[in-house]
Amino acid sequence: MKSSVLLFSLLLLVTVFSCQEQKEASCCTKPATATATKSTVKTVSGTLPDMSLYQLSSEWQNQAGITQPLAQLKGKVQLVAMVYTHCRYACPRIIADLKRIESSLDEYKRDDVGIVLITMDPDRDTPEKLRQFASANRLDPSRWTLLTSSHDNIRELAALLNMKYKTELDGEISHANIISVLTTTGELVHQQEGLGLDPDETIKSIKAQLQRI
């Protein structure tokens, strides 16, 4: 009887354990590994406000090919726009608009204001392509960060930036033109929608954020 009890408990242990193991492997392995490998991000997100875009755990690559979480943008007031480098019409204009805003912020340190371009075309916009684009457009690397990631991660960030975009059958991308202002902790505080607009309101919003630093 004793041995049968032992056998029973042993079997029970094995079956329960095997079930547990399968369960863990089948459900939500993705988020589990994501948090495990990104402990640094997690500690950062502990101090972030609930509405911070830096709560996203996605990984991005910048124009230097370095992998970074969005939370790395923390600490600066960031101007964010979504573009793609093959774009002939709207994107050059949005970059012109960003430069116009940049030039009005000359008095501020590079450490205080950053400008972020997110590609909507990760298949063609490799980090190398982004680097070439940055140098062709004379984008100061101490101020401008160009980022790419997977289609899913880009779509997710776009949703949070109220950006609508769609790849057309001819490979062009139809997209909204929005310049967003993020606080030093990644909260969206201002958006300017359209091209060639008077940037006064946007500049005012950036300056208000800079005064809080």
Binding site: T15, C19, S26, C28, P31, A90, D152, Y165
Partner: protein
């Protein structure tokens, strides 16, 4: 001893059943690939939709409850506002449980869920949300035809549904309209999230400027549309374009999709 064996068999059997439910696409339906003209596409050209698998039913309250039991971070008390607004699961009495109304709601589609949590749920099942094109393509089907796009009676049914207020308790998913693919509730039950819901720019020359939206009320909103009579699709596209990813709505749920396995190996 017999009792012990019985218990072991039960546990092991239960585990197998649980596994089978997770891995077998029994609750999914294959939607054969094809082409269609989306309401807002590129110059009214037909787009091709590769074959895919779609959940037979929208996700129910009880299925969502099971998901929350295993995923603490999506409980009402844990979720960040960035990922779900204040109305998240507001029809549930509990923090992670349906609560008092469980009997009435268990088989009803889960609503008041954000895009983020819908996406997380599907990823947890090894699936994904369907794209707008996939969803619209599958929703064109009536009981008898895969493409009921030119069938006025089919549209009328959707219009009739849209014109009715939401019932206090949404009906069980199994009792909803079944189309020719065997998909339930594509119309007549709830609206559903799609992965790229933020892809439609409802403007004439959509590349120009999405802020034109504001000027395109009434008739002008239809300038980019392929079929100006398709009010039903207009309503869906308009509704999607009003959403933000942390929004929760009392009649917005979701179901999951998966690439057809043949396509995956062929394209990768």
């Amino acid at each position: 001893m017999i009792q012990a064996l019985l218990i072991i068999t039960l546990i092991f059997g239960g585990c197998l059943v649980a596994q089978a439910q997770k891995s077998a696409p029994a609750a999914m339906v294959e939607v054969a690939g094809g082409t269609f003209v989306p309401l807002y596409g590129s110059n009214n050209q037909a787009v091709s939709v590769p074959g895919f698998l779609l959940d037979k039913y929208p996700v129910t309250n009880s299925e969502f409850e099971a998901f929350l039991a295993a995923n603490q971070k999506w409980k009402k008390s844990e979720v960040k506002k960035l990922f779900a607004d204040a109305g998240y699961l507001k029809h549930w009495a509990g923090n992670a449980e349906v609560g008092e109304e469980a009997e009435k709601l268990k088989d009803s589609p889960v609503v008041n869920v954000s895009w983020f949590v819908a996406k997380a749920y599907c990823e947890c099942q090894g699936k994904r949300l369907p794209t707008v094109n996939e969803w619209e393509y599958a929703a064109m089907a009536s009981e008898t035809k895969r493409n009921a796009a030119s069938d006025p009676g089919f549209y009328q049914r959707s219009l009739d549904w849209y014109s009715q207020p939401n019932p206090k308790y949404l009906p069980p998913v199994q009792q909803s309209f079944r189309n020719v693919y065997g998909l339930y509730g594509m119309i007549g039950l709830v609206w559903e999230w799609t992965s790229d819901y933020n892809s439609a720019l409802i403007v004439g020359e959509s590349r120009a400027n999405a802020s034109l939206d504001r000027q395109l009320f009434c008739g002008a909103g239809s300038t980019g549309a392929s079929d100006v009579k398709n009010y039903v699709a207009f309503m869906r596209y308009a509704f999607r374009s009003s959403l933000k990813p942390n929004y929760t709505v009392t009649n917005l749920g979701f179901r999951c999709a998966r690439n057809a396995s043949v396509k995956v190996t062929a394209s990768r």
